[in-house]
Subunit: 451 residues, 2 copies
């Protein structure tokens, strides 16, 4: 029986343990933290997660999707809150299409249980990866409670240990010609829990992702199962009037929320008291290559951590499992071939996923409240309604399809050039009102099919 060691019992590691077990591998998972199902600890710093089609596909392929659906709350669109408390709504896709809010902690706990039960994987907790022999397939750990040192030797190593992967840092980064970058964005984030009403109901409309876009910064809120919302404030660390360096005192925080998010403040007048409940955290993109060396492969955030603004981090990590599995079907037990094909296929796609995440950071921050942007979204929806087979908006390609990310990025750019031509017409607003926009869409469609 072939064996594999997975470093990191996070979301991707737990799911990949299920896949490998199904393929007949003896799987050991080493995890730095204690068992989150037993201890009262956080599952790592994280905004809530938004599961979408790529994630579901990877879960359903090994029959674990339904168990996750039990804790997933559909969000059918964005609800924008302006300064006066006016709301506007943008559906994410077509009728019935949604992304799903899940709590990382809950999801991770379930995934671990599934890995153990469905996958027969053995999880070793409190085992910190100290080093790895990538070519011989050995993971060296130290137990954080006992100090005991262990070696896990197996036919394969999968590093699913996140953005600050110990396998990557301790071993991969020392391999000659390993390209690597960690790039922080200017903004940080802080979470705030908006509690449920006393009767357990939600304080905001449930089946949506709420955004308070304010130009250079924004607040978002995702629903939790218990009626609360996990809210996240994204803003610059420093160098701007509205930045975390200027939100130090209770008074500053209170004044900031009162004046900037008045409708939110009304729902949570004690926001300043909850300010310190969660740490101020940073956001980085990790890019590297190659992703495999000898018997070892990086998967998920360890290979391609991204900023959270397209909701694709976890979904992309889960898709790594789908793709690796596909390659196992194609190449059998030839892991050299699987690894080579995996990294060559996934690298450009995950680069695109990261590019799109960065772009959406700017879109959400700067444009989502812009009337022109809302009109463009309307145009895109009209296009899709008129030609559902031919035209898929970029957001839908990324979120509701399985088109390779690189293709989605490329097609999206082509579509956008054409859409901008329409949007740049004089009196575009009038064209919407007098219905001429439909003729333009038809012209656009002809261009599209001729391209």
């Amino acid at each position: 029986m072939k064996s594999a060691t997975i470093v990191g019992a996070g979301l991707v590691g737990s799911l990949w343990a299920v896949y490998l077990s199904k393929a007949g591998y003896k799987v050991k998972v080493v995890e730095r933290r204690p068992d989150i199902r037993k201890a009262e600890i956080s599952a790592g710093k994280s905004i809530n997660l938004a599961l979408s089609d790529r994630g579901w596909k990877a879960l359903d392929a090994v029959g674990v999707g339904d168990e996750i659906r039990e804790i997933a709350i559909p969000m059918y669109g964005r609800i924008m809150h302006d300064l006066e408390g006016n709301l506007s709504y943008q559906p994410y896709g077509q009728k019935g299409q949604a992304i799903f809010s899940v709590s990382r902690g809950e999801l991770n706990a379930r995934m671990m249980t599934i890995a153990e039960k469905v996958g027969n994987a053995e999880i070793f907790y409190n085992e910190k990866c100290e080093n790895a022999d990538l070519e011989k397939g050995i993971v060296y750990t130290i137990n954080t409670l006992t100090g005991e040192q262990l070696e896990f030797k197996s036919d394969l190593i999968f590093a699913t240990d996140g953005a600050f992967s110990a396998v990557r840092y301790n071993a991969m980064q020392k391999v000659d010609r390993f390209n690597f970058s960690q790039q922080y964005i200017e903004d940080g984030y802080r979470e705030i829990l908006l509690p449920a009403n006393e009767d357990g109901t939600y304080k905001l409309k449930t089946n949506a992702l709420h955004i308070w876009p304010r130009g250079r910064f924004m607040l978002i809120a995702l629903p939790n199962e218990d009626g609360s919302f996990t809210c996240t404030l994204f803003m610059p660390f420093e160098g701007h009037k509205n930045s975390f360096e200027n939100l130090k005192s209770r008074d500053q925080v209170e004044h900031f929320f009162k004046s900037t998010f008045p409708d939110f403040f009304e729902l949570m007048p004690n926001v300043a008291d909850a300010w310190e409940d969660h740490p101020l955290s940073s956001l980085a993109l990790i890019r590297c290559y190659p992703w495999t060396h000898g018997k070892t492969a990086l998967m998920g955030d360890a290979a391609h951590a991204t900023v959270p603004f397209y909701g694709q981090g976890m979904n992309c990590g889960f898709e790594d499992c789908t793709k690796m599995w596909d390659l196992m079907q194609k190449h059998g037990e030839d892991w050299d071939a699987i690894f080579k094909a995996y990294e060559q296929w996934r690298k450009p796609n995950c680069d695109s996923m990261q590019n799109l995440s960065l772009q959406n950071y700017h879109v959400m921050r700067d444009h989502v409240a812009d009337p022109k942007f809302l009109l463009q979204k309307k145009l895109e929806r009209k296009m899709q309604e008129a030609y559902p087979e031919e035209y898929l908006p970029l957001y839908s390609m990324v979120t509701f399809s399985h088109i390779d990310y690189a293709d989605a990025e490329r097609i999206g750019e082509e579509q956008n050039r054409k859409i901008q031509k329409i949007m740049n017409l004089n009196d575009i607003e009038a064209l919407f009102e007098n219905g001429q926009i439909d003729d333009l869409i038809h012209q656009f469609y002809i261009q599209l099919t001729q391209a």
Copy 2:
């Protein structure tokens, strides 16, 4: 008496030890390797170095330039060798201007002695940096011979431990929001020693840098004091007909040199036997930020390692000393202010230096043998002769001036746009021959002064 620990007794570390001693600091230098002056070891993998004006300025400022001049061989220009063995010559600058070939090992040995004698620095050998407390000013080392662990505590830490800096890797990279990238280029290099003639004379013209440009790869040769030349072959690792993966056997190497560098092969018919004397090595750019944290600053390659194609790696590292020294004069003992100003000033300049190094990689590789490129160089020289005060070619700004690198890059781009206009004229060759080029240069000059 204030104290400082310098990690790395390489070129920049040794020079900086002299500066700090002069400023009244008690300096300890910890060095991973044994004393290169006593042991028969290499001073690290390295092509020969080309000292130029920025380097000399930093050396002369603390009175050590003359000792280095003793081992420096001036190179006044490039000599290009074509496939038929024809030579062409490009002076680097104006009459008398040169870059200087020095052996890294020799230079490093002298710098260490100078640091000890002139600088009263104490160098601790075989001390491998295991970690550092950047804020408290502690460097943790382990002796590679005895296994003994030491702590070096001081008011300041300077990490001059090169491209793969242990301070950066073990400590700086773990600081939140530290941006970092290591980017390898597609090409590797291998050194070959072309020995002196039996009577000790040089086999090639001495006071020049020799280049055999061949499009996608090139061989260069720099003179050594003993009559030999250190030659370096730069070429892709793989994926090309002419690449290191296709130079494995003795026969392949011999055939390659015979057919590609025939005049070189004639001078060194046993090149295939010397092929394995030096390892195949890779080339990377390291970019990171910030460069300082707490009591610690990165200098030289630890902060901004580059590819060697502009000959600025060491010169730029030495210039870090010049600039840090200038800031010490300005801010006195206020190291927070010095460090902040140092990184803010140097970062954009060293980014430019790296950009220029990468550009020159392409120039040397692809264009240096192009007749149009040679004509452009001629045009640039004519411009400089006609208007020596107003026009300085980019190469001269970088190599023979102390203009900030970022300014050099920007001015160079502006100049290049104008030069390309002239170069794109029909019959540019004829314009040179019939002398009309001088009128064009005058027009160019008018544009330049009006800009």
